[in-house]
Symmetry: C2
């Protein structure tokens, strides 16, 4: 985690929890109404995916996730001097695209669990995972375009660009699985596509709907893109060294999945004896038929080598570096000071979070 | 097939082959350029799907299909007094959405062949079929929205509505597979969603891009929707009684797939002794473990019962009925007489085609 920094001092000024709650409160009813437009049984499958019902159809208290994207979308409307509500169709469209990609990625990757629950394809079958993913993707455009404004058309173009990047990132992720080595640059490009592009869209969509110019929208996207890279670097750290109680994931989660995440690729690229030993171990692991039975100690040994080779510190520094670029981008957009402080606080939250 | 009608006389006035060729010639280069924007290996998978290359990557002469949708899209631009080229982004977007749905439907349905070739999921795997389908869907919006005009935003809304209907239709198709009986009304609703909605969009998208009003666009959609139902009724006839040489499908193709197409559901709904015998046979077939080994004679016997129960004649009459509604809708839109004649000729072509 980054050491004490100006970010820690700033955190007292803005109530991040309230910012996240505002995005969630504004977006969730519209998201639920939109998902409710789907014909049966797709409405039920979507409600299960979003955590609103369990596999038997009974209502549940979903945790709703961190809700960083909706918070950014409604906040960005304020850049254009518009009411935060102006950003809601954008917030919902971005959430719909994000969840369409989760439904399809979980099936493509064969992932059986997400947020402690069986994934949609496990519960409702592959066809429903494909179909409801498609439906959420189409709903994103429906929600975004139904206002019929010029801003909606511009926002839809940016959403399309983000979605194309998201799909490119998934294509890269799939191709990297079949390779022994992935460079740090390739990993960053993939993470920029999979995480950065949609956070970029979330950070500009409210402003675009509120009538902001293209240059300001581009700059807000730059903020969001680098925030996304910082977010993913922290995610990659938590994926190895996160507290299972806080993250809700298994210990050494990303190592168990043999994920070529930033700490791993950075450690492999670092050179030196720990890096070389790690490379030999992971190459052997890739061929091992006993991998599923590996003990805690075996994963801990790999994590220690990654740390010894410098992969942990490099990734933490990368999170801080991307965080700094994101904050600096904010300086290129004219906005009320208290709006700027909120964007900064959300960026600070992303890099210090424990889950 | 429908008997001799005024349609036969009209067919001499307009060169339908030239109309179809115009749509194909205008749309194909833009479609190829758009698919070429995809990152590897998605560009290759898309090119395989479109029939531009074979499974080894060698260029092939694809037959390009009937190309009714692109022909309608560029023709509809002329309703607004615009150059046919104005409709091209719409034609390409509609083709991209159509092909996204084919990629996903073939995987969901487990279909291994399309147009005499292995389907994408058979050649490139399920993950690529999902991913490239998603990419084509996103590309549709990219191509449609990149002009940035108000018409493009309106066209995107209509494309979204059509896509939502397409997905609803696929959901119905999947659910009907698990049921013994489907009513004629349910079958028509499903076919309207799966085929009518996108032909409706194709028939209006050029006009919308050319600046036509919403009322005219709605009326053109009505033409296209009913044309789609006529198209599908003819497809359902060809799926049972079509000449394999002309259709490129197996004999009794839809019966082999146990498709609950219009002739079948109409025959089952008709009542009488042939209808009842058909119902008993199909119920037994559904449980048969020997279905894959059925002889030509066994399928011919089922086709004969469908015909005896009136399913063939009912479907042919339905094609004529939908064709008439489509033509009548044209009367509610103000357009040059020669444009109206072309729309009429395309509708005539759809109901008299042999493949």
């Amino acid at each position: 985690m980054p050491p004490a920094s100006p970010a820690d001092a700033r955190r007292t000024a803005v109530d991040v929890a309230a910012l996240l709650e505002r995005g969630r409160t504004l977006a969730t009813p519209v998201l639920r109404e939109a998902a409710g437009r789907l014909a049966p049984p797709m409405d039920t499958v979507a409600a299960y995916h979003f955590g609103w019902i369990d596999a038997h159809g009974n209502p549940t208290e979903g945790d709703g996730g961190k809700a960083v994207r909706p918070a950014l979308a409604v906040l960005s409307a304020e850049v254009a001097g518009a009411d935060p509500k102006t950003g809601v169709p954008g917030a919902v469209a971005v959430e719909l695209v994000h969840n369409f990609s989760l439904l399809h990625d979980d099936l493509m990757d064969g992932d059986e669990q997400r947020r402690h629950r069986d994934t949609v394809w496990k519960v409702h079958g592959p066809a429903q995972a494909i179909l409801v993913g498609d439906a959420l993707f189409a709903l994103a455009y429906e929600v975004l375009l139904e206002s019929g404004t010029a801003g909606a058309g511009r926002a839809a173009r940016r959403l399309t660009a983000a979605t194309r990047a998201l799909i490119d990132g998934q294509a890269q992720d799939i191709s990297y699985e079949h390779r022994d080595r992935v460079s740090v640059e390739e990993c960053l490009e993939m993470e920029g596509n999979k995480t950065g592009a949609l956070l970029a869209c979330a950070s500009s969509v409210g402003a675009v709907l509120g009538g902001a110019g293209e240059k300001d929208a581009d700059t807000l996207e730059r903020y969001g893109y680098h925030l996304g890279l910082a977010f993913q670097a922290v995610d990659d750290l938590l994926g190895i060294w996160g507290d299972p109680v806080a993250t809700g994931k298994q210990t050494w989660s990303d190592l168990r999945q043999r994920k070529k995440s930033l700490p791993v690729v950075a450690a492999l690229a670092a050179g030196g004896s720990a890096s070389e030993r790690l490379g030999e171990l992971l190459a052997a692991d890739a061929k091992s038929t006993d991998f599923a039975n590996f003990s805690e100690e075996e994963f801990a040994a790999r994590a220690a080598l990654i740390e010894e080779a410098g992969g942990r510190e490099w990734t933490a520094a990368e999170a801080r570096r991307q965080h700094t670029i994101a904050i600096e981008a904010l300086g290129d957009v004219d906005m009320p000071e208290q709006v700027r402080e909120k964007f900064t606080a959300l960026a600070d939250f992303v890099v210090v979070r424990k889950r």
